[in-house]
Amino acid sequence: MIPLSWLKRKKRQPNDEPLNRNRIVSVLLVGGSIAAVGIVAFTSYWVVRGLILNTLKHNALLKVEKAGSEIDTWLAKQLGGVETLASSYEVRSMNWDIAEPFLQLEQDRLADFWMFILVNPDGTYYTTRVGLAKGQNLSDREYFQRAMKGEPNVSDMIISRTTGKRQINISVPVWSFPRANYAQIPDDRADIRSKSLSSYNLPNDLSQQPKVIGNLAGNIPTAHVSQVVADTQLGKGSYAFALDSKGVPIAHPNSKLTEGTQSFLDSANPALAKIARAMIDRQHSVNLMRLDDQWVYVAYAPIQKTDWSVALVIPRENVEQQLDALHLLAIVVGTLLALAILIALQQLRQLEETRDRAIQESRLNKQLAQTSTQLQDALAYLGAIMDTLVDGLLVTDINGKITRCNPALSKMFGIESTDLAQQDAAIVFSHEITDLIAQTQQHPHQVFTAEIALNDGGIGKAVATVILKTAQSESEGTLDRSAIGSVILIRDITSEKEVDQMKTDFISTVSHELRTPLTSVLGFAKIIKKKLDEVVFPAVASEEKKVLRTIRQVEDNIDIIVSEGMRLTSLINDVLDIAKMEAGKVDWKMEVLNVSKVIEHAIASTSALFQAEHLELIQQIEPELPNVIGDHDRIVQVVINLISNAVKFTDHGSVTCKAIRIGDHVCMSVIDSGAGIAADDHQKVFEKFKQVGDTLTDKPKGTGLGLPICQQIVEHHNGKIWVESELGKGSTFSFTLPIKVETNLVQKIDFSTLVQQLREQVIHQDSETNRSQKTILIVDDEAPIRELLRQNLEAEGYQILEAKDGREAVAIVKQQKPHLIILDVMMPDMTGFDVAAVLKHDPQTMGIPIIILSIVDDKERGLQVGVDRYLTKPINAELLLHEVDLLIAQGSSRRKVLVVDEDELATKTLVGILQAQGFSTSEASNDAELIEKTLSTQPDTVIANAKFWEHSTAVKTLKFEKGLENVFLLLIADHKSDSTLP
């Protein structure tokens, strides 16, 4: 049902009370209207139906009445006829002889009658068919008795005693003289009456009343009645029948029932008996009843002239057929009504839905308004935060367009314009910022920092990172994080820088102020000791005990001063170390470290301790430990510190040095069998100036800064340091270092392999070099060094030139064109860097390889000016000769490299690395560029991506170009993962 489901559906909003009440009211309204219309329609139908049915019943009654009246008319006519006969002289004579001829004639005239019967008062009778009925008597017949009482009547159905046939008799009394109200007869009629009376042989006495002297009955067949009854019909299947006062059928369409005088009252069919009873009771009505297994209407009409009754049986449908039109109408109206209700409900529902939708819409609108207000508030809040940030904020999209910045930023860079949005960051800001943006884009998962000069001369620290947007990837269901821009936060650190500088200055000053007196103390103590040993004590030739004891005491005392002075020195060094680390002033030289080599180094440095203390050192180093990244010297410092601590606190037994891999870390442990540390003190050992134990009684060993320094170093490497120990059971100091992530490492390895390839490639081409034809220029302001180098190189067969300063060197090079230059940096007038810069910028000399050999370790600067190798003093002769050989064999400075790759980023990365190493580079990203660049720059080496190589024809054809036969080609499979080189 629609309304139900409709109501149910609405119940989904339980919190909506007024809506429900409205709905209930409207439902009641609609329901009531429907019920009223239904009731009215049904009542109208019922009334109309009743009216029609009554009319139909009335029709049936009329029909049956008509039949009754026809029979009545007929009977009246027959009664009149018989009465006329009975009034005749012949009949009144009651003499059969007189009456018979008359009756015979009348019988012929009146064709309806079968015969006439003349009955004597005693019941004996004569008939026109047989004459005197001998032995027969009719005195028991009702019609005779009624006639004898002066009552003309029509008999019930009787069986003739004469003929044995079913018949009815029209029975009238025979009066002694004609009945009349004689007293009222006018006198002028007296004569006629007298004449008449005399003719009847009656006395003329008018006071006499006529007497019944006999009975005349006309025997008549029921055919006419049957005809009338048969003619009485109302539709198909209907029939009429007539019963006499006893219920015996006079006329019935079923001929079997009109044999004999069986009364319907005695019928086995109770319905028939019921009908018969109603007829005998002379009912005049129409009844609905069940007869012979069907519903029928039965109309009754009694006959006036006799006690008979006529009934008409009509099948119900005959009557109610008339109602079909009404029913059809009712159905149509009902259907229309139902349809109208449906439509109305539908409309109502739609109306409700529209209203609901409107309510929901308004609610949504309200929510939307609320949300947008909240959003605006949030945005305003965020905006306010950004605008009031003390730090400068700069947000760009991936193309470097500014999308957001705050007033602090504008102030920092002195930008007047308030609206920077959509401007190119490269135009507005310095290259430092655009570089940062570019870096974040290239390495989306790293945070970059840079110090940037501010407008007011201050320094800002910029922290930049890419903005990653997390998006659900539909295809794989994984989370994709794509860069949508960069965000840079710039903090004015001018004052911090100043404070920092002050701190650095303070440390320097304190260090200086402490060291200067210490220098004196320690220095003089050592001199005193030396002088005592060498001069004073030998001069004291006394054998006196007191003198000898004093000498011994002075020796001991001076030793104490020296050792304490040294302890103080190391303390100052440690304090400086930790102060520098805390101030971030340490230059960490991160490189790939082999853990076992680090440990070996530390063990070598501490071997003297073990010998002195008679302790055993055990090594447990897991084979094939992965490399870590770290500052070699600092990590060695940590291990040395731990080992020397272990030795310090262990009187006997052993110290174990262990290194294992734990997950992503390498764990190094130093295990001793010493005194151990109570659990409460485990953390304290890493605190500055804390030494575990009673400071008053226990002799302090060391500065108390060793472990804090170790902790600083390890934590800088993103590692962890801790101690496991129990009193009396020794201690285990361990620290972890993260294993270098493979990708970064690979790049490093890749690169070094590549550079190695670049350097050595030529050897394969012309290894047979006549060294005697090669000249080497040695430039050094120190003659002994020149001499040393000359001797070494001449021993290898090279020709040697010398220059004692930069100017001389430049002059000689231009004149003599040596095959190689070995160059010192620290020289008067012109430094080695300047010399190199001059030579490398002159096309005539730029091809000559230069090796810098200096105490100054500034490799970066050397490579920048274009030198080929950078070696530091003290001179490692073997390495120097190797490099000299390499470069000489190479013939000329193989510095020009052309990098070819379709991936621009990869090209840039490689170019950056090569440039940092002093190579002069050019780039190409397609065939056309490759040919153009190769011909214009004449590179010594072409580095091509293997994939590019595969599909490039230009690379292959170039190989055969004139003048390019000796170009060396390097193929790289992939910059990132593979380091396979051809």
């Binding site: 402490l514 007196p517 210490l518 004196s520 050592k526 100054v856």
Partner: protein
């Protein structure tokens, strides 16, 4: 010409210490000269041409780096070995020392024996 060693330090004790450390070289004809500040040192270098200079960094008025730089780059004095003596143990100073042309860098407190040994080596004694 006798060999000369110039000791430059504003601290009397340090001068004394170095003098005593190196005094045995005097037996081999080495002359020890001292200066208490940078200006004095420059004057002496110009006048005396010492072969070896022990130069303190932190001095009033003209510091050791300036002295060294002047000597190596402006005076065009050849064959002079300058050992910087400083309490500063920082990388930055070492680099600066190298930049101004210092030949060696020694951190205080230094070991007298090492000073003596180095001097003998440099002077070729």
């Amino acid at each position: 010409m006798s060999q000369k060693i110039l000791i430059v330090d504003d601290e009397f004790h340090i001068r004394l210490l170095l003098e005593q450390t190196l005094e045995e070289l005097e037996d081999q004809g080495v002359e020890l000269i001292t200066a208490t500040n940078g200006h004095e040192a420059l004057e002496i270098i110009k006048a005396e041409h010492p072969q070896l200079v022990f130069l303190d960094v932190m001095m009033p008025h003209l510091n050791g780096f300036d002295v060294c730089s002047t000597v190596k780059n402006e005076l065009n004095v050849q064959d002079i070995y300058i050992i910087m003596l400083t309490a500063k143990g920082q990388e930055l100073d070492k680099q600066k020392g190298a930049e101004v042309g210092a030949d060696l860098y020694m951190t205080k407190p230094f070991d007298p024996d090492e000073v003596l040994e180095k001097s003998i080596q440099i002077l070729g004694l």
